[in-house]
């Protein structure tokens, strides 16, 4: 029996955290993620969770504290955003390398500078190769569902990797939406008890060294093992998504296609902008234009085969990146999608837009203009291009 209530993205994440009831949460506030741990700290203070809440002095310390707690055998979580994630940079790589099943909501926000508090993907895209699993949510329902699934994915014995659960800053974190929530005991049942890798880190009869030095003798073998864990995460993500579907009625996988099978042109976009795009797809379908949408949910591990299968038949694709690589080539999602389609014999034409930086609003007209461009590219009336900035002011002609 599920209850239907209205919550903001942050409230939904805080509720999921409460229902997961982890052993340790260490966190430092940062807009727009603050509310998640602020709400959670009151759950802890009011005895609604068994969690040891550690108020630390920085994000570097927050992630270090949960890393230590996890290595010692605790289910440990934190949450952050933007500069906080950037400040965690070195610890992110260590957590993944130590194979610690941490879970961390990341409320996507632009990186400085110029200083900005609003939503874009430059923070999590900046750490896309840190070895963390990355899952992106479109709305509050997915934020809630992804966070609960992330615990199971991270802790699977074949995976043992940390997971970021990303939501768009303000657009989702602060917007009120209806969602279905589970009873506390159902969430507990789904995530199950935490099985630490070792019964106790402080067992004098069975001591262990965590994070030993590994130079040219062992560094590469340990990294190879880490890469294998990310590969093994793929079937686990799929399995957990299906099980969650049987349990909640909401099934999840790597990608969410919309009107894609019969489409000729499509937009590929992460997170909340997929909702705006879906509205435009409906309009275009009414006009008889074969438009579609692909929303990748899982970005790391990168679902290359699934993307190839989902997009290979199209005439033209527009990849929308809410982060720039500043490399003169294209955004991170564009380059990955483009590479995934390399093996398709009669590959679709691919164009790339950078959009929504620093929370710049993207409306229906912006998305309509993308499909207009796509129609021309598909018809061979316009060339393929990379890096067009959507919604940036140009001088009047």
């Amino acid at each position: 029996m599920q209850e239907r209530i209205a919550l903001t993205g942050n409230e939904a994440m805080a509720l999921a955290l409460k229902q997961i009831n982890p052993d340790v949460v260490a966190a430092y506030p940062i807009t727009p993620a603050t509310e998640i741990v602020q709400l959670f700290s009151s759950y802890a203070a009011n005895g609604m969770v068994k969690t040891e809440f550690v108020a630390v002095e920085s994000e570097h310390s927050a992630l270090s504290a949960v890393l230590g707690a996890s290595a010692a055998g605790a289910r440990a979580l934190t949450a952050t955003s933007s500069q906080g994630l950037a400040y965690m940079f070195e610890v992110l790589y260590i957590a993944a390398s130590y194979r610690l099943p941490l879970v961390m909501p990341v409320v996507n926000r632009a990186l400085s500078g110029p200083i900005n508090i609003h939503g874009d993907h430059s923070d999590s895209m900046g750490v896309r190769d840190a070895g963390w699993i990355q899952i992106y949510a479109e709305d509050t329902q997915e934020a809630y569902d992804n966070l609960i699934q992330a615990v199971r994915i991270a802790e699977d014995p074949a995976v043992q990797l940390p997971v970021m659960v990303c939501i768009d800053g303000f657009i989702i974190s602060h917007a009120l939406e209806n969602l279905e929530i589970m009873a506390d005991e159902k969430v507990q049942e789904f995530v199950g008890p935490f099985t630490p890798r070792r019964p106790s880190l402080l067992d004098l009869d069975h001591p262990v060294t965590v994070g030993p030095l590994a130079l040219f003798d062992y560094y590469m073998e340990i990294k190879r093992g880490q890469a294998e864990a990310m590969r093994k995460a793929k079937p686990v993500i799929k399995e957990v998504g299906q099980e969650y579907g049987r349990w909640s009625g909401r099934k999840y996988s790597f990608l969410e296609p919309y009107q894609l099978a019969e489409a000729e042109i499509a937009v590929v976009v992460l997170s909340s902008t997929a909702g705006t795009t879906r509205v435009v797809v409906d309009e275009l379908r009414q006009q008889g234009i074969r438009a579609g949408l692909l929303k990748p949910r899982v970005y790391r591990p990168f679902p290359q085969q699934e993307i190839k299968a989902a997009l290979g038949h199209l005439k033209a694709i527009a990849v929308l990146d809410r982060a720039d690589s500043f490399d003169g080539f294209g955004g991170p999602l564009y380059k990955d999608i483009r590479a995934a389609l390399y093996e398709v014999p009669d590959r679709p034409r691919i164009i790339n837009y950078i959009f929504g930086l620093g929370g710049r609003d993207v409306g229906l007209d912006d998305i309509r203009s993308v499909y207009d461009d796509l129609a021309q590219v598909a018809a061979g009336e316009a060339p393929e291009f990379s890096i067009r900035y959507l919604g940036v002011r140009e001088e009047a002609l």
């Binding site: 194979r99 890798r197 001591p207 994070g211 030993p212 003798d217 062992y218 340990i222 093992g225 880490q226």
Partner: protein, 99 residues
């Protein structure tokens, strides 16, 4: 770790389950200066044994017997702490032929 393991056999994340394996990592070739133990000056106070950060002062039956050059990094703490006059530990330049 004399035999290098293939990647599938390396413990996950390199976590080591064996105890006291730091002994297997020889750090003696890090030295640029080395301590020489002068038995005739040694008053057997064991300060060097206590202060050595690498457990590289060897002792038997409560008495200093010398320096473990496989592990001594040449930090000089032993010679600095030695209270005997003249000192029973002297730092001298490391030379290739003595290694």
């Amino acid at each position: 770790m004399s035999k290098l393991l293939p990647w599938r056999e390396v413990p996950s994340a390199g976590w080591l389950e064996e105890k006291g394996n730091a002994e297997e990592y020889e750090t003696g070739d890090w030295r640029t200066i080395k301590p020489i133990w002068l038995k005739e000056h040694c008053i057997q106070c064991l300060r060097c044994f206590v202060y050595c950060p690498d457990s590289a002062i060897t002792a038997e039956n409560g008495r200093v017997t010398g320096v473990d050059y496989k592990h001594c990094k040449g930090c000089g703490i032993c010679a600095h702490e030695c209270p005997s006059k003249p000192k029973a530990l002297e730092m001298v330049a490391e030379s290739a032929d003595e290694l």
